[in-house]
Protein backbone atom coordinates (compact mmCIF):
# COMPACT_ATOMS: atom_id res chain seq x y z
CA UNK A 1 0.00 0.00 0.00
CA UNK A 2 1.75 3.16 -1.11
CA UNK A 3 1.03 6.60 0.29
CA UNK A 4 2.19 8.19 3.51
CA UNK A 5 2.70 5.90 6.49
CA UNK A 6 0.83 8.28 8.73
CA UNK A 7 -0.36 11.89 8.68
CA UNK A 8 -1.53 14.08 11.56
CA UNK A 9 -3.27 17.42 11.22
CA UNK A 10 -3.40 19.75 14.26
CA UNK A 11 -3.46 16.68 16.44
CA UNK A 12 -4.03 17.41 20.15
CA UNK A 13 -4.52 15.21 23.23
CA UNK A 14 -4.62 16.06 26.89
CA UNK A 15 -5.46 14.38 30.18
CA UNK A 16 -7.44 16.89 32.22
CA UNK A 17 -5.21 19.97 32.23
CA UNK A 18 -2.04 17.99 31.57
CA UNK A 19 -1.25 18.41 27.89
CA UNK A 20 0.06 15.30 26.19
CA UNK A 21 0.13 16.67 22.67
CA UNK A 22 -0.84 20.27 21.94
CA UNK A 23 -0.85 20.88 18.15
CA UNK A 24 0.93 18.44 15.88
CA UNK A 25 0.93 18.50 12.09
CA UNK A 26 3.19 15.82 10.67
CA UNK A 27 3.36 13.24 7.94
CA UNK A 28 5.76 10.31 7.85
CA UNK A 29 6.86 8.09 5.01
CA UNK A 30 7.49 4.36 5.28
CA UNK A 31 10.75 3.15 6.75
CA UNK A 32 12.46 3.33 10.15
CA UNK A 33 11.90 6.60 12.00
CA UNK A 34 13.37 7.63 15.33
CA UNK A 35 11.14 9.67 17.64
CA UNK A 36 13.15 11.77 20.08
CA UNK A 37 12.35 14.50 22.55
CA UNK A 38 12.77 15.43 26.21
CA UNK A 39 10.72 13.78 28.98
CA UNK A 40 7.09 14.79 28.77
CA UNK A 41 7.40 16.09 25.20
CA UNK A 42 4.43 14.00 24.09
CA UNK A 43 6.20 11.02 22.52
CA UNK A 44 4.27 8.39 24.49
CA UNK A 45 0.97 10.17 23.89
CA UNK A 46 1.64 10.36 20.16
CA UNK A 47 2.58 6.66 19.97
CA UNK A 48 -0.56 5.65 21.87
CA UNK A 49 -2.63 7.70 19.41
CA UNK A 50 -0.85 6.06 16.45
CA UNK A 51 -1.35 2.60 17.99
CA UNK A 52 -5.06 3.34 18.42
CA UNK A 53 -5.11 2.92 22.19
CA UNK A 54 -6.48 6.42 22.84
CA UNK A 55 -8.59 8.93 20.89
CA UNK A 56 -7.38 12.40 19.86
CA UNK A 57 -8.96 15.29 21.78
CA UNK A 58 -8.50 17.51 18.74
CA UNK A 59 -7.44 17.35 15.10
CA UNK A 60 -7.20 14.23 12.93
CA UNK A 61 -4.78 11.35 12.54
CA UNK A 62 -4.55 8.71 9.87
CA UNK A 63 -2.28 5.68 10.05
CA UNK A 64 -1.94 3.47 6.96
CA UNK A 65 -4.93 5.42 5.69
CA UNK A 66 -7.10 4.40 8.63
CA UNK A 67 -8.54 6.16 11.70
CA UNK A 68 -6.48 4.46 14.42
CA UNK A 69 -8.68 4.42 17.56
CA UNK A 70 -10.03 0.90 18.29
CA UNK A 71 -9.72 0.10 14.56
CA UNK A 72 -9.48 -3.67 14.10
CA UNK A 73 -8.12 -3.26 10.56
CA UNK A 74 -5.21 -1.19 11.84
CA UNK A 75 -4.47 -3.62 14.68
CA UNK A 76 -4.17 -6.40 12.13
CA UNK A 77 -1.49 -4.47 10.22
CA UNK A 78 0.33 -2.81 13.13
CA UNK A 79 2.17 -4.01 16.24
CA UNK A 80 2.53 -1.97 19.45
CA UNK A 81 5.23 -2.31 22.10
CA UNK A 82 4.07 -0.16 25.05
CA UNK A 83 6.37 1.63 27.48
CA UNK A 84 5.13 0.08 30.71
CA UNK A 85 6.73 -3.17 31.83
CA UNK A 86 3.43 -4.95 32.45
CA UNK A 87 3.11 -8.46 31.07
CA UNK A 88 1.06 -11.51 32.07
CA UNK A 89 3.28 -12.58 34.97
CA UNK A 90 1.79 -16.02 35.51
CA UNK A 91 2.03 -17.19 31.88
CA UNK A 92 5.21 -18.34 30.14
CA UNK A 93 6.75 -16.26 27.36
CA UNK A 94 5.47 -18.66 24.72
CA UNK A 95 1.95 -18.73 26.19
CA UNK A 96 1.72 -14.91 26.18
CA UNK A 97 2.76 -14.46 22.55
CA UNK A 98 0.76 -17.46 21.33
CA UNK A 99 -2.36 -16.18 23.13
CA UNK A 100 -1.98 -12.72 21.57
CA UNK A 101 -1.45 -14.29 18.15
CA UNK A 102 -4.61 -16.32 18.55
CA UNK A 103 -6.41 -13.01 19.08
CA UNK A 104 -5.19 -12.03 15.64
CA UNK A 105 -7.19 -14.88 14.19
CA UNK A 106 -4.34 -17.33 13.58
CA UNK A 107 -5.02 -21.02 14.09
CA UNK A 108 -3.45 -22.72 17.12
CA UNK A 109 -0.61 -24.25 15.10
CA UNK A 110 0.07 -21.03 13.18
CA UNK A 111 0.03 -19.01 16.39
CA UNK A 112 2.52 -21.36 18.04
CA UNK A 113 4.81 -21.26 15.01
CA UNK A 114 4.75 -17.47 14.86
CA UNK A 115 5.27 -17.17 18.61
CA UNK A 116 8.31 -19.47 18.54
CA UNK A 117 9.74 -17.69 15.54
CA UNK A 118 9.32 -14.25 17.13
CA UNK A 119 10.76 -15.40 20.45
CA UNK A 120 13.81 -16.86 18.71
CA UNK A 121 14.24 -13.66 16.74
CA UNK A 122 14.36 -11.52 19.90
CA UNK A 123 16.71 -13.98 21.59
CA UNK A 124 14.26 -15.46 24.12
CA UNK A 125 14.51 -18.91 22.61
CA UNK A 126 15.66 -20.74 25.73
CA UNK A 127 13.47 -18.73 28.13
CA UNK A 128 10.22 -19.38 26.21
CA UNK A 129 9.00 -21.98 28.70
CA UNK A 130 9.83 -19.90 31.80
CA UNK A 131 7.23 -17.82 33.64
CA UNK A 132 7.31 -14.12 32.65
CA UNK A 133 7.21 -13.28 36.37
CA UNK A 134 10.81 -14.50 36.58
CA UNK A 135 12.02 -12.45 33.56
CA UNK A 136 14.61 -9.72 34.03
CA UNK A 137 13.90 -6.21 32.76
CA UNK A 138 15.83 -6.90 29.56
CA UNK A 139 13.96 -10.15 28.89
CA UNK A 140 10.63 -8.42 29.40
CA UNK A 141 11.54 -5.81 26.77
CA UNK A 142 12.42 -8.59 24.34
CA UNK A 143 9.12 -10.35 25.05
CA UNK A 144 7.23 -7.12 24.43
CA UNK A 145 9.02 -6.65 21.12
CA UNK A 146 8.28 -10.26 20.19
CA UNK A 147 4.51 -9.80 20.64
CA UNK A 148 4.68 -6.64 18.52
CA UNK A 149 6.35 -8.29 15.51
CA UNK A 150 5.03 -11.87 15.70
CA UNK A 151 2.02 -11.24 13.44
CA UNK A 152 4.22 -9.75 10.71
CA UNK A 153 2.74 -6.23 10.79
CA UNK A 154 3.41 -3.51 8.21
CA UNK A 155 4.11 -1.01 11.02
CA UNK A 156 5.70 -1.53 14.43
CA UNK A 157 5.24 1.22 17.01
CA UNK A 158 7.72 0.84 19.91
CA UNK A 159 7.79 3.12 22.96
CA UNK A 160 11.36 3.09 24.38
CA UNK A 161 12.05 -0.57 23.54
CA UNK A 162 15.72 -0.26 24.63
CA UNK A 163 15.00 0.96 28.13
CA UNK A 164 16.71 -1.38 30.60
CA UNK A 165 18.61 -3.44 28.02
CA UNK A 166 22.35 -3.95 28.49
CA UNK A 167 24.67 -3.07 25.60
CA UNK A 168 24.51 -6.60 24.21
CA UNK A 169 20.72 -6.54 24.22
CA UNK A 170 20.69 -3.02 22.84
CA UNK A 171 22.90 -3.94 19.92
CA UNK A 172 20.75 -7.00 19.12
CA UNK A 173 17.45 -5.13 19.24
CA UNK A 174 18.83 -2.31 17.09
CA UNK A 175 19.92 -4.91 14.53
CA UNK A 176 16.48 -6.53 14.71
CA UNK A 177 14.63 -3.29 13.98
CA UNK A 178 17.09 -2.36 11.23
CA UNK A 179 16.59 -5.79 9.64
CA UNK A 180 12.80 -5.39 9.95
CA UNK A 181 13.14 -2.01 8.21
CA UNK A 182 15.11 -3.60 5.40
CA UNK A 183 12.38 -6.26 5.06
CA UNK A 184 9.94 -3.46 4.30
CA UNK A 185 8.36 -3.19 7.75
CA UNK A 186 7.94 0.45 8.88
CA UNK A 187 9.24 1.05 12.40
CA UNK A 188 8.49 4.02 14.66
CA UNK A 189 10.80 3.91 17.69
CA UNK A 190 10.85 6.44 20.51
CA UNK A 191 13.89 6.57 22.77
CA UNK A 192 15.77 8.83 25.13
CA UNK A 193 19.25 7.49 24.37
CA UNK A 194 20.21 9.31 21.20
CA UNK A 195 23.21 7.28 20.19
CA UNK A 196 20.85 4.31 19.85
CA UNK A 197 18.73 6.20 17.30
CA UNK A 198 21.80 7.17 15.31
CA UNK A 199 22.79 3.51 15.07
CA UNK A 200 19.27 2.62 13.92
CA UNK A 201 18.18 5.32 11.49
CA UNK A 202 18.96 8.75 10.02
CA UNK A 203 15.30 9.78 9.80
CA UNK A 204 14.32 11.53 13.03
CA UNK A 205 11.26 13.38 14.32
CA UNK A 206 11.91 15.73 17.21
CA UNK A 207 9.12 16.54 19.68
CA UNK A 208 9.18 19.28 22.28
CA UNK A 209 6.45 20.51 24.61
CA UNK A 210 3.83 18.57 22.70
CA UNK A 211 4.78 20.01 19.29
CA UNK A 212 6.83 18.94 16.29
CA UNK A 213 10.14 20.78 16.37
CA UNK A 214 12.07 19.16 13.54
CA UNK A 215 11.82 16.29 11.09
CA UNK A 216 14.14 14.68 8.53
CA UNK A 217 17.68 13.23 8.32
CA UNK A 218 19.89 14.41 11.16
CA UNK A 219 22.47 16.03 8.93
CA UNK A 220 19.89 18.08 7.00
CA UNK A 221 18.20 19.18 10.19
CA UNK A 222 21.59 20.44 11.33
CA UNK A 223 22.01 22.48 8.14
CA UNK A 224 18.74 24.25 8.76
CA UNK A 225 20.06 25.46 12.07
CA UNK A 226 22.11 28.16 10.42
CA UNK A 227 21.80 30.49 13.33
CA UNK A 228 24.05 28.20 15.34
CA UNK A 229 27.79 28.29 14.41
CA UNK A 230 29.51 24.93 13.86
CA UNK A 231 31.79 23.82 16.68
CA UNK A 232 35.07 21.97 16.12
CA UNK A 233 37.25 20.50 18.87
CA UNK A 234 40.99 20.05 18.32
CA UNK A 235 43.80 18.71 20.52
CA UNK A 236 47.44 19.54 19.93
CA UNK A 237 50.76 19.41 21.78
CA UNK A 238 51.29 23.18 21.32
CA UNK A 239 47.75 24.55 21.26
CA UNK A 240 48.70 28.25 21.54
CA UNK A 241 50.80 28.28 18.38
CA UNK A 242 48.07 26.52 16.40
CA UNK A 243 45.38 28.81 17.87
CA UNK A 244 47.29 31.94 16.84
CA UNK A 245 47.34 30.75 13.24
CA UNK A 246 43.65 29.75 13.29
CA UNK A 247 42.52 33.14 14.65
CA UNK A 248 43.87 34.78 11.49
CA UNK A 249 41.21 33.00 9.34
CA UNK A 250 38.36 35.48 8.72
CA UNK A 251 35.61 32.80 8.80
CA UNK A 252 36.63 31.68 12.29
CA UNK A 253 34.28 33.25 14.90
CA UNK A 254 36.07 32.27 18.06
CA UNK A 255 38.96 30.17 19.30
CA UNK A 256 39.10 28.98 22.89
CA UNK A 257 42.17 27.27 24.28
CA UNK A 258 41.47 24.81 27.07
CA UNK A 259 43.35 25.31 30.35
CA UNK A 260 45.28 22.04 30.55
CA UNK A 261 44.68 19.23 28.07
CA UNK A 262 45.80 21.15 24.94
CA UNK A 263 42.27 21.43 23.72
CA UNK A 264 41.16 24.08 21.22
CA UNK A 265 37.46 24.85 20.58
CA UNK A 266 36.78 26.67 17.33
CA UNK A 267 33.45 28.15 16.16
CA UNK A 268 32.97 28.86 12.47
CA UNK A 269 30.12 29.30 9.99
CA UNK A 270 31.93 27.67 7.05
CA UNK A 271 33.06 24.24 8.12
CA UNK A 272 34.39 23.07 4.75
CA UNK A 273 36.67 26.09 4.24
CA UNK A 274 37.85 25.71 7.81
CA UNK A 275 38.93 22.08 7.27
CA UNK A 276 40.77 23.05 4.10
CA UNK A 277 42.61 25.85 5.89
CA UNK A 278 43.32 23.61 8.89
CA UNK A 279 44.96 20.96 6.71
CA UNK A 280 47.32 23.61 5.36
CA UNK A 281 48.02 25.31 8.72
CA UNK A 282 48.59 22.05 10.60
CA UNK A 283 51.17 20.97 8.03
CA UNK A 284 52.96 24.36 8.24
CA UNK A 285 52.92 24.98 12.01
CA UNK A 286 53.67 21.34 13.00
CA UNK A 287 51.92 22.02 16.34
CA UNK A 288 51.40 18.28 16.94
CA UNK A 289 47.70 17.86 16.29
CA UNK A 290 46.46 14.63 17.89
CA UNK A 291 42.69 14.77 17.48
CA UNK A 292 40.09 16.61 15.46
CA UNK A 293 36.33 16.30 16.01
CA UNK A 294 33.30 18.29 14.93
CA UNK A 295 30.54 17.75 17.44
CA UNK A 296 27.72 19.26 15.57
CA UNK A 297 26.76 16.45 13.36
CA UNK A 298 25.75 14.34 16.35
CA UNK A 299 22.07 14.14 17.17
CA UNK A 300 22.78 15.16 20.73
CA UNK A 301 24.11 18.52 19.59
CA UNK A 302 21.16 19.05 17.26
CA UNK A 303 18.87 18.06 20.10
CA UNK A 304 20.46 20.63 22.41
CA UNK A 305 20.22 23.41 19.86
CA UNK A 306 16.55 22.77 19.25
CA UNK A 307 15.53 22.05 22.78
CA UNK A 308 17.69 24.67 24.47
Amino acid sequence: MSGALLSADQLGRWYGQVVGLSDLTLSLERGVTGLVGPNGAGKSTFLKLVAGEIRPSRGTLEVLGLKPFANAELFRRAGFCPQQEALYEDMTGLEVVRFLMRLHGFSAAEATRRANEALDRVGLGDARKRRVGGYSKGMRQRAKIAQAIAHGPELVVADEPFNGLDPVGRAEMTALFAQAGREGMSVLVSTHVLHEVEALTHEIVLFHRGRLLAQGPVGQVRQLLSRHPRRVELRAREPRRLARALVELDFVLSVRVGPADGRIDVETFELERFFEALTRIAAETRAGVTSLESHDASLEAVFDYLVA
Binding site: Y15, S44, A51, G52, E53, I54, R55, F69, A70, A72, E73, F75, R76, A78, F80, P82, Q83, Q84, A86, L87, Y88, E89, D90, M91, F99, L100, R102, L103, H104, G105, Q147
Partner: protein
Protein backbone atom coordinates in the same frame (compact mmCIF):
# COMPACT_ATOMS: atom_id res chain seq x y z
CA UNK B 1 -20.61 -11.18 15.55
CA UNK B 2 -18.39 -14.14 14.70
CA UNK B 3 -15.34 -12.18 15.89
CA UNK B 4 -17.17 -11.54 19.20
CA UNK B 5 -17.86 -15.24 19.72
CA UNK B 6 -14.39 -16.35 18.70
CA UNK B 7 -12.69 -13.77 20.95
CA UNK B 8 -15.00 -14.61 23.83
CA UNK B 9 -14.11 -18.28 23.46
CA UNK B 10 -10.36 -17.49 23.34
CA UNK B 11 -10.43 -15.20 26.35
CA UNK B 12 -12.66 -17.69 28.14
CA UNK B 13 -10.16 -20.50 27.71
CA UNK B 14 -7.11 -18.43 28.65
CA UNK B 15 -8.68 -16.76 31.65
CA UNK B 16 -10.13 -20.06 32.85
CA UNK B 17 -6.65 -21.54 33.06
CA UNK B 18 -5.25 -18.42 34.71
CA UNK B 19 -8.07 -18.21 37.25
CA UNK B 20 -7.54 -21.83 38.28
CA UNK B 21 -3.83 -21.15 38.73
CA UNK B 22 -4.35 -17.93 40.69
CA UNK B 23 -3.46 -18.05 44.36
CA UNK B 24 -6.74 -16.37 45.37
CA UNK B 25 -8.65 -19.33 43.89
CA UNK B 26 -7.38 -21.54 46.75
CA UNK B 27 -8.68 -18.98 49.22
CA UNK B 28 -12.13 -19.08 47.58
CA UNK B 29 -12.09 -22.89 47.37
CA UNK B 30 -11.28 -23.08 51.09
CA UNK B 31 -14.14 -20.71 51.90
CA UNK B 32 -16.57 -22.72 49.81
CA UNK B 33 -15.49 -26.06 51.28
CA UNK B 34 -16.17 -24.74 54.76
CA UNK B 35 -19.93 -25.51 54.80
CA UNK B 36 -19.77 -29.20 53.81
CA UNK B 37 -16.72 -29.71 56.05
CA UNK B 38 -18.49 -28.24 59.06
CA UNK B 39 -21.56 -30.33 58.25
CA UNK B 40 -19.39 -33.43 58.29
CA UNK B 41 -17.88 -32.40 61.65
CA UNK B 42 -21.35 -31.85 63.08
CA UNK B 43 -22.36 -35.29 61.83
CA UNK B 44 -19.74 -36.86 64.11
CA UNK B 45 -21.11 -35.25 67.27
CA UNK B 46 -23.26 -37.51 69.43
CA UNK B 47 -26.09 -34.98 69.70
CA UNK B 48 -29.27 -35.68 67.71
CA UNK B 49 -29.32 -32.99 65.04
CA UNK B 50 -31.74 -32.75 62.21
CA UNK B 51 -30.24 -32.92 58.68
CA UNK B 52 -32.70 -30.23 57.65
CA UNK B 53 -31.23 -27.74 60.11
CA UNK B 54 -27.68 -28.54 58.95
CA UNK B 55 -28.66 -27.95 55.33
CA UNK B 56 -30.63 -24.76 55.93
CA UNK B 57 -28.39 -23.11 58.56
CA UNK B 58 -25.01 -23.77 56.89
CA UNK B 59 -26.43 -23.48 53.40
CA UNK B 60 -27.90 -20.06 53.94
CA UNK B 61 -26.02 -18.38 56.75
CA UNK B 62 -22.56 -19.40 55.53
CA UNK B 63 -22.65 -20.08 51.80
CA UNK B 64 -25.37 -17.82 50.42
CA UNK B 65 -25.20 -14.95 52.86
CA UNK B 66 -21.41 -14.50 53.12
CA UNK B 67 -19.36 -16.77 50.87
CA UNK B 68 -21.26 -16.05 47.65
CA UNK B 69 -20.81 -12.24 47.70
CA UNK B 70 -17.28 -12.47 49.13
CA UNK B 71 -16.00 -14.96 46.53
CA UNK B 72 -17.76 -13.08 43.75
CA UNK B 73 -16.08 -9.81 44.77
CA UNK B 74 -12.60 -11.34 44.93
CA UNK B 75 -12.92 -13.19 41.61
CA UNK B 76 -15.22 -10.73 39.86
CA UNK B 77 -13.14 -7.64 40.56
CA UNK B 78 -10.12 -9.43 39.10
CA UNK B 79 -11.87 -10.01 35.77
CA UNK B 80 -10.94 -6.56 34.51
CA UNK B 81 -9.75 -4.72 37.60
CA UNK B 82 -6.54 -6.70 37.84
CA UNK B 83 -5.72 -6.33 34.16
CA UNK B 84 -6.25 -2.57 34.47
CA UNK B 85 -4.21 -2.25 37.61
CA UNK B 86 -1.36 -4.29 36.06
CA UNK B 87 -1.80 -2.25 32.85
CA UNK B 88 -1.71 -5.39 30.67
CA UNK B 89 -5.03 -4.34 29.12
CA UNK B 90 -2.98 -2.50 26.46
CA UNK B 91 -2.20 -5.78 24.73
CA UNK B 92 -5.90 -6.59 24.39
CA UNK B 93 -7.01 -3.09 23.43
CA UNK B 94 -4.62 -3.04 20.47
CA UNK B 95 -5.73 -6.37 18.99
CA UNK B 96 -8.25 -6.78 16.15
CA UNK B 97 -10.90 -8.17 18.52
CA UNK B 98 -14.32 -6.98 19.64
CA UNK B 99 -13.74 -5.26 22.96
CA UNK B 100 -16.97 -6.30 24.67
CA UNK B 101 -15.70 -9.85 24.30
CA UNK B 102 -12.89 -9.03 26.74
CA UNK B 103 -15.39 -8.50 29.56
CA UNK B 104 -17.79 -11.26 28.54
CA UNK B 105 -15.11 -13.87 27.86
CA UNK B 106 -13.25 -13.31 31.09
CA UNK B 107 -16.42 -13.04 33.17
CA UNK B 108 -17.67 -16.34 31.72
CA UNK B 109 -14.46 -18.02 32.80
CA UNK B 110 -14.69 -16.66 36.35
CA UNK B 111 -18.42 -17.47 36.51
CA UNK B 112 -17.78 -21.04 35.38
CA UNK B 113 -15.30 -21.60 38.16
CA UNK B 114 -17.50 -19.93 40.79
CA UNK B 115 -20.68 -21.73 39.75
CA UNK B 116 -18.87 -25.06 39.66
CA UNK B 117 -17.38 -24.53 43.12
CA UNK B 118 -20.61 -23.30 44.73
CA UNK B 119 -22.84 -25.89 43.10
CA UNK B 120 -20.48 -28.65 44.21
CA UNK B 121 -20.33 -27.25 47.74
CA UNK B 122 -24.13 -27.03 47.97
CA UNK B 123 -24.58 -30.53 46.54
CA UNK B 124 -21.97 -31.94 48.93
CA UNK B 125 -23.68 -30.17 51.83
CA UNK B 126 -26.99 -31.68 50.73
CA UNK B 127 -25.44 -35.14 50.56
CA UNK B 128 -23.83 -34.85 54.03
CA UNK B 129 -27.09 -33.45 55.47
CA UNK B 130 -28.97 -36.37 53.93
CA UNK B 131 -26.76 -38.77 55.86
CA UNK B 132 -28.11 -37.59 59.22
CA UNK B 133 -30.50 -39.94 61.12
CA UNK B 134 -34.13 -39.46 59.94
CA UNK B 135 -35.98 -37.02 62.28
CA UNK B 136 -38.73 -38.31 64.59
CA UNK B 137 -41.24 -35.68 63.51
CA UNK B 138 -42.45 -35.88 59.90
CA UNK B 139 -42.20 -32.09 59.55
CA UNK B 140 -38.40 -32.11 59.65
CA UNK B 141 -37.75 -34.55 56.79
CA UNK B 142 -35.61 -32.90 54.09
CA UNK B 143 -37.96 -32.28 51.15
CA UNK B 144 -36.50 -33.92 48.02
CA UNK B 145 -35.96 -30.69 45.98
CA UNK B 146 -34.34 -28.68 48.78
CA UNK B 147 -30.71 -29.51 47.93
CA UNK B 148 -31.45 -28.75 44.30
CA UNK B 149 -32.87 -25.37 45.33
CA UNK B 150 -29.74 -24.60 47.36
CA UNK B 151 -27.50 -25.60 44.43
CA UNK B 152 -29.56 -23.42 42.13
CA UNK B 153 -29.56 -20.48 44.54
CA UNK B 154 -25.81 -20.67 45.11
CA UNK B 155 -25.10 -20.82 41.39
CA UNK B 156 -27.46 -17.95 40.59
CA UNK B 157 -26.07 -15.84 43.42
CA UNK B 158 -22.44 -16.08 42.31
CA UNK B 159 -23.43 -15.69 38.66
CA UNK B 160 -25.23 -12.42 39.31
CA UNK B 161 -22.77 -11.08 41.87
CA UNK B 162 -19.73 -11.79 39.67
CA UNK B 163 -21.41 -10.16 36.66
CA UNK B 164 -22.07 -7.04 38.70
CA UNK B 165 -18.56 -6.85 40.18
CA UNK B 166 -16.87 -7.54 36.83
CA UNK B 167 -18.73 -4.62 35.30
CA UNK B 168 -17.60 -2.44 38.23
CA UNK B 169 -14.06 -3.16 36.97
CA UNK B 170 -14.83 -1.24 33.77
CA UNK B 171 -15.84 1.92 35.57
CA UNK B 172 -13.95 2.02 38.85
CA UNK B 173 -10.23 2.09 39.49
CA UNK B 174 -10.71 -0.06 42.65
CA UNK B 175 -13.65 -2.37 41.85
CA UNK B 176 -12.83 -4.60 44.82
CA UNK B 177 -13.37 -1.81 47.35
CA UNK B 178 -16.59 -0.63 45.68
CA UNK B 179 -17.78 -4.26 45.51
CA UNK B 180 -17.02 -4.90 49.19
CA UNK B 181 -18.78 -1.67 50.08
CA UNK B 182 -21.90 -2.79 48.19
CA UNK B 183 -21.89 -6.43 49.27
CA UNK B 184 -21.37 -5.97 52.98
CA UNK B 185 -22.55 -2.55 53.96
CA UNK B 186 -25.32 -1.65 51.48
CA UNK B 187 -26.69 -5.15 50.99
CA UNK B 188 -26.24 -6.12 54.62
CA UNK B 189 -28.12 -2.97 55.66
CA UNK B 190 -30.89 -2.86 53.03
CA UNK B 191 -31.62 -6.59 52.93
CA UNK B 192 -32.79 -6.55 56.55
CA UNK B 193 -34.93 -3.43 56.26
CA UNK B 194 -38.64 -3.99 55.88
CA UNK B 195 -40.47 -2.70 52.85
CA UNK B 196 -39.66 -2.35 49.21
CA UNK B 197 -35.96 -1.32 49.32
CA UNK B 198 -35.04 -4.94 49.79
CA UNK B 199 -35.64 -5.23 46.09
CA UNK B 200 -32.46 -3.23 45.51
CA UNK B 201 -30.31 -6.11 46.72
CA UNK B 202 -29.36 -9.32 44.94
CA UNK B 203 -29.77 -11.17 48.27
CA UNK B 204 -33.51 -10.52 48.15
CA UNK B 205 -33.99 -12.31 44.85
CA UNK B 206 -31.74 -15.18 45.88
CA UNK B 207 -33.76 -15.59 49.07
CA UNK B 208 -36.99 -15.48 47.09
CA UNK B 209 -35.72 -18.23 44.79
CA UNK B 210 -34.58 -20.24 47.78
CA UNK B 211 -37.60 -19.87 50.03
CA UNK B 212 -40.35 -19.91 47.44
CA UNK B 213 -39.99 -23.64 46.71
CA UNK B 214 -40.07 -25.02 50.27
CA UNK B 215 -41.00 -22.11 52.52
CA UNK B 216 -41.71 -24.25 55.56
CA UNK B 217 -38.25 -25.86 55.36
CA UNK B 218 -36.60 -22.45 55.81
CA UNK B 219 -38.71 -21.50 58.81
CA UNK B 220 -35.91 -22.63 61.13
CA UNK B 221 -33.51 -19.93 59.96
CA UNK B 222 -34.69 -16.38 60.65
CA UNK B 223 -34.96 -13.65 57.99
CA UNK B 224 -34.55 -16.06 55.06
CA UNK B 225 -38.12 -15.86 53.85
CA UNK B 226 -38.71 -12.24 52.69
CA UNK B 227 -42.06 -10.60 53.45
CA UNK B 228 -43.60 -10.67 50.00
CA UNK B 229 -41.53 -13.36 48.29
CA UNK B 230 -41.60 -13.64 44.49
CA UNK B 231 -41.99 -17.12 43.14
CA UNK B 232 -38.94 -19.04 41.92
CA UNK B 233 -39.40 -18.31 38.19
CA UNK B 234 -39.75 -14.56 38.78
CA UNK B 235 -36.67 -14.56 41.00
CA UNK B 236 -34.62 -16.38 38.36
CA UNK B 237 -35.76 -13.95 35.69
CA UNK B 238 -34.77 -11.03 37.91
CA UNK B 239 -31.36 -12.47 38.74
CA UNK B 240 -30.46 -13.34 35.16
CA UNK B 241 -31.85 -9.98 34.10
CA UNK B 242 -29.60 -8.13 36.52
CA UNK B 243 -26.57 -10.12 35.37
CA UNK B 244 -27.30 -9.53 31.68
CA UNK B 245 -27.99 -5.82 32.13
CA UNK B 246 -24.81 -5.36 34.15
CA UNK B 247 -22.72 -7.14 31.53
CA UNK B 248 -24.38 -5.29 28.68
CA UNK B 249 -23.62 -1.93 30.26
CA UNK B 250 -20.02 -2.94 30.95
CA UNK B 251 -19.52 -4.38 27.46
CA UNK B 252 -21.04 -1.36 25.77
CA UNK B 253 -18.88 1.04 27.79
CA UNK B 254 -15.73 -0.98 27.08
CA UNK B 255 -16.30 -0.50 23.37
CA UNK B 256 -15.53 3.22 23.51
CA UNK B 257 -13.54 3.42 26.74
CA UNK B 258 -10.06 4.83 26.69
CA UNK B 259 -7.81 3.80 29.49
CA UNK B 260 -5.29 6.53 30.15
CA UNK B 261 -2.63 4.29 31.63
CA UNK B 262 -0.19 6.96 32.64
CA UNK B 263 3.34 5.60 32.34
Amino acid sequence: MLNFLRTTWLLYRTHLVRTLRARRMWLVAFGVALAPAIAWVVAQSPRTIRGLDVLTALGFLLTINVMAPLASVIVGAAVLGEELEDRTITYLLTRPISRPAILVGRWLASATVLVALFAASAALLGWVAGGFPPPSNEKYVIPPGLTGALVGASALAVLTYSALFSTLGVFFKHPMIVGLGYAFTIEGFLANLPGKNQALTIQYYVRCFLASQHPQAWAGVEDVVPREPLDAAQAVRWLLGIALVALAIGAWALRRKQYELTA
